[in-house]
Amino acid sequence: MSGKTLYDKLWDAHLVDSRPDGTALLYIDRHIIHEVTSPQAFEGLRLAGRKLWRTDTNVATPDHNVPTDREERKGGIATIVDEVSRIQVQTLDDNCEEFGITEFKINDIGQGIVHVIGPELGVTLPGATVVCGDSHTATHGAFGCLAHGIGTSEVEHVLATQCLVTSKMKNMLVRVDGELGPGVTAKDVILAIIGKIGTAGGSGYAIEFGGSTIRSLSMEGRMTICNMAIEAGARVGLVGVDEKTIAYVKGARFAPTGETWDKAVAYWQTLTSDDDAGFDAVVELNAADIEPHVSWGTSPDMVVPISGFVPRPEDQADATRQKGYQRALDYMGLEGGIPVTDIRIDKVFIGSCTNSRIEDLRAAAAIAKGRKVADSIKKVYVVPGSWLVKQQAEDEGLDKVFIEAGMDWREPGCSMCLAMNSDVLGRGEHCASTSNRNFEGRQGPGGRTHLMSPAMAAAAAIAGHIVDVRQLA
């Protein structure tokens, strides 16, 4: 008999009930709540007269709408200019107050992007089931958690029952082995993976990322990888627990201590796939083959290595793909066949739940240090993922590096990853962005996103166009 995958173990440990129709009731340990996908869930509870099943599993924070401009942020909710945003953030506060949920409010030190603060505060613990009304909840899988995004109906369901009705996913192993070259980061690895398997390649699967390359990554790097599992279609991304996982969690605000800590660690150390575990699909990549990657189009699988060219639609095999590529080129204002390094950049965004942690900011600062942003660049937004990340970056003097280079050092939030606040691209503007989605209009109507690593984005800011960071380092 073959052993269990990590996903199998997490599933089994949370299975309340398995039904004959193939569905299951799965117990949820941690539920993270933000302002955008929760108001209708709380309203549903009120209308049905339902209470929370447990309060001590929930943590809330506003992140999507919050301003990152220092002046607009200074006065908290009261100074949010957009009235509709202001009401939404206020509604989160009101709901948390009414239902007794722990919330980190707009300017509390614990506030930040849900997927940054969860791990940072020890809300996310290895072995937990973690859900949030946000597709990038896959991020938390970096800690050996079963973590995925849910819709608002399920937010309400979890609040009321502590469970989800779900069915088991298939297991996929994405194994990356070998040593990454200089200038090649976790972001490049995940973009290469998405480029290889496509945006629906992981649909129906929980993807475990394994191999020596993944093991060698920091927790920040592993979070970047798991974060974008959803961009390959997989709701769940996972990495097995090791010493790095445990070291990251230790001392976090909500992490166990003393004897409970020791007991927890003993359990967490079992959270890896068994050597003889069977996977339904296996994908392998060689780290040495991975260059820095950038996206050229409007889907996260429209990526090329930095030495590559924008593809020509006529070179694509089937008609649907040709049509999709042509539409993407038209939207991006690009022609097939040009080197990606010819693409000029107007704005740069360094931030998001993919790349706004301390390691990301260090990587960007290492490139920015002693250099100046190109004159042709209109603005560089550097947005830390949380107040704690911001504080640490400032302790290390990174803020000064960014400011001296001519970049804008801002307050924490989701910012221009989805542009729900006022950090928005103008029509036709090209953005070097460390975020996760290059969909049409994602960063602003008519905006053109190029996904890349923090170091590559900083390099693009310096060069004024997409550039191979290895030429600057």
Binding site: Y27, N58, G149, A200, P256, A264, R321, R327, E440, P445
Partner: protein, 215 residues
């Protein structure tokens, strides 16, 4: 939740693969704290030539004539015909809310993103999966025949075409039952409260650090 048993309606095509939920309902509309009223903003960026924002009056906005659902022949469409990986990206349930508010009752596509697919069922909307070749034929027939309607019968799991021929589709048993009866899933789960409590007691023994930590 409203029930879905059967539906006959005009088919409207969106002939594009990987339609993401940002396309279905752009982020500026997610600021609403309501569940309704998103219909006028469905596919906002593809549908209108100007920029939309939440609360904008859509009755006088310039329509993009190239967007199929704007054409006279597709007015009143309630069955959406789409391409692979429909609904990818963000988990926003505003996407099925917007489709529902627009009048869409069922979607037919070769594949869906997982979260979107799941969200549809929570809103009394039926996402049907058919093979790529069948979908290609449907796109061709819709284009060739104005007023093309399909009749969907969930109990029988069939779609009947205008010529009377039928196409069978799969749907899992639990989701089918919930749609047919318009079941309140939370109410159903709460009927199993004893099982949840029993599990919880064991879980607290095994992983006490997961309890009472966040206060």
């Amino acid at each position: 939740m409203k029930a879905f048993i059967s539906h006959r309606g005009l088919v409207g095509p969106v002939d594009l693969a990987n339609v993401d939920t940002d396309m279905i309902i752009p982020k500026q509309f997610l600021k609403s704290i309501k569940r309704s009223g998103f219909g006028p903003y469905l596919f906002d960026e593809m549908r209108y030539l100007d920029e939309g924002w939440y609360g904008k009056d859509c009755s006088t906005r310039p329509l993009n004539p190239d967007f199929a659902l704007n054409q006279a022949r597709y007015q009143g469409a309630s069955v959406l015909l789409a391409r692979e990986n429909f609904g990818c990206g963000s988990s926003r349930e505003h996407a099925p809310w917007a489709l529902d508010d627009f009048g869409i009752r069922a979607i037919i596509a070769p594949s869906y993103a997982d979260i979107f697919y799941n969200n549809c069922f929570k809103n009394g909307m039926l996402p049907i999966i058919l093979g790529k070749a069948v979908i290609d034929t449907l796109f061709a027939e819709v284009a060739a025949n104005p007023g093309y309607e399909l009749a969907i019968d969930l109990p029988a799991q069939t779609i009947t075409k205008p010529d009377g021929s039928t196409i069978a589709f799969e749907v899992d048993a639990f989701r089918k039952q919930c749609l047919l009866e318009g079941l309140d899933e939370i109410g159903l789960t709460l009927k199993e409260a004893d099982k949840i409590r029993a599990f919880e007691a064991g879980h607290r023994q095994a992983q006490p650090w997961m309890f009472d930590a966040i206060k």
